[in-house]
Amino acid sequence: MGKTIDVKTFALNGTANGRGEIHRRIKYESELSRDFKEKIAEIAYGEKLYSCIQCGTCSATCPVSHYMDYTPRKIIQMVREGFKEEVLSSSTVWLCASCYSCTVECPKGIKITDVMYALKREAISSAYHSKHFPASVLANSFFKQVLDHGRNSEGPLLLKMYLKTNPFMLIKNMKLGFKLWKTGRLSLKTEKIKNKRNLNKLLKNIEKAEEAEAK
């Protein structure tokens, strides 16, 4: 059994992190999650993942790649190699804004945005997931709200998210909230559909079908 080694080298020209350092993480084969890529490739058109040529078009077109721990190109490679822990705990999956630029531009037709969605889902159900990362809290609160009411109410949703992650942001955004309320663009009322039973039944049926599939 080996041990993960973090290596730091220096770029001759061009800088990786602004200080000229390039960080590489080396793992022994035994430490990699070899079945990770297969799990991700299960999504629709997921097998295209294997044809990535590492051209970097996705990273170049991504509006937030320079804020990410790993760029979309790197993420694709890390998924293929089985760097499960690093991928699922990275900021990348939660910074992806689902803008679909990468998906439209990828020369190999890889649905990178959908890969990011799959990674988000994996991250939530994994142990590597920070419960306080606001983007995932938002996704989760949104999910629950729609599950309970069939509709999303923006006011209560944001309130909940700020309280859970960063109450300071709530105070900071009070003024904006007040302005929105004054112009009739924010309400704390919870929106609901009429036939909630119908929606519940549908979701139950899906759950049942999935359980049957799993068996």
């Binding site: 999504i43 629709a44 509006p63 937030v64 804020y67 910074l95 804004a97 689902s98 803008c99 679909y100 630029s101 998906t103 439209v104 945005t113 969605y117 799959a118 988000k120 889902r121 939530i124 606001p134 983007a135 995932s136 938002l138 996704a139 949104f142 999910f143 729609v146 069939g150 509709r151 999303n152 109410s153 923006e154 006011g155 944001l158 998210m161 992650t165 942001m169 955004n173 904006l176 302005k179 929105l180 112009t183 009739g184 663009r185 924010l186 309400s187 929106e191 559909i193 009429k194 036939n195 119908n198 929606l199 039944k201 549908l202 979701l203 049926n205 899906i206 079908a209 999935e210 599939e213």
Partner: protein, 300 residues
């Protein structure tokens, strides 16, 4: 022809004026529509991040409801004005059409809850309906105030044209620009039409979201646009409501109106700003108001 209208959650809340203005425009142009009964949330970007099958299930409930409500009509066209709703509904339909197993699963789950979905619904963006069904020539004919001299930056955002829309180009969309020309205004040529505004990141991780919105506004102002028009409630929100915050962070004196394309079109059709929900704006598009003032064609 009659259309079904699927508002989605945002158009009932932060994006209220998108609904107000769009419906006023449809009525003015005598385009017949009716709201989808008991529609539910499309799932937006968040639902997909938590559970894939349920995301497709809740989106397809809307499609099934549409088939039920319009079962006696020849064609079922559903107008989805919010970019996220439009894209999610399209994606669901596309996915189910190419995935027989998933389609069967969803169909039987729907059936057990008393609904059915056969894939007959056509999902339409209001821009598509206005430009391609109603027609630009007809729009020009209906215009009461030609907005001469007004420079308009058309901002499509991400999900209106990416990745599945067929009515316009994913990289260089033109439908809004054509609409702008049809009402006598001048579209600004700029490269950021489909650049991401920061989406839901702006509200939660400001240091990432704000600069994205800033780049877009800065470029529009640099190209001397009088106003930016959008087709998405989240884009409108980010670009308009965070302008104070953007100025604070980037020491700029940006101040540019960001309105829905339906508001601009409504003004040209002679609908009052109030009916178009323009009292809800934080930044008044003064240049545009000047051009329509007086109830007659005004040349600035």
């Amino acid at each position: 022809m009659r259309y079904l209208y699927y508002p989605g959650c945002s158009l009932k809340c932060t994006g209220r004026s998108y609904e107000e203005s769009l419906l006023a425009v449809l009525k003015a142009l005598k385009i017949d529509f009716v709201e989808l009964n008991d529609w539910n949330c499309c799932g937006a970007t968040a639902y997909m991040a938590v559970d894939e099958s349920k995301a497709f299930a809740i989106a397809s409930r809307n499609l099934a409801l549409a088939e039920e409500q319009f079962k006696n009509e020849k064609e079922i066209h559903i107008i989805a004005p919010c970019s996220a709703c439009y894209m999610v509904l399209l994606k669901t339909q596309n996915y189910l059409a190419h995935n027989a197993g998933e389609m069967k699963k969803i169909q039987s789950a729907l059936k057990e809850s008393g609904l059915s979905y056969e894939g007959k619904v056509k999902i339409r963006h209001p821009l598509d309906v206005l430009v391609n069904d109603f027609g630009l020539k007809e729009i020009t004919k209906a215009v009461k105030h030609h907005l001469k001299g007004i420079k308009v930056a058309s901002y499509y955002g991400c999900q209106t044209v990416r990745p599945l829309a067929t009515f316009d180009d994913a990289r260089e969309p033109v439908s809004m620009d054509e609409l702008v020309r049809a009402i006598g205004a001048e579209p600004v040529d700029w490269p950021l039409k489909t650049r991401c505004c920061g989406a839901s990141l702006t509200g939660i991780i400001e240091q990432v979201g704000l600069p994205l919105s800033y780049i877009i506004l800065h470029e529009a102002a640099k190209r001397r646009a009088d106003v930016v028009i959008t087709a998405c409630p989240l884009c409108q929100f980010n670009l308009e409501c965070y302008q104070t915050e953007i100025n604070k962070n980037y020491q700029n004196d940006l101040r540019i109106g960001v309105i829905y394309f339906s508001q601009l079109l409504g003004l040209a059709l002679g609908i009052s700003p109030k009916e178009l929900g323009m009292q809800r704006l934080f930044v008044k598009p003064e240049g545009v108001y000047k051009a329509v003032k007086g109830g007659e064609t005004v040349y600035v």
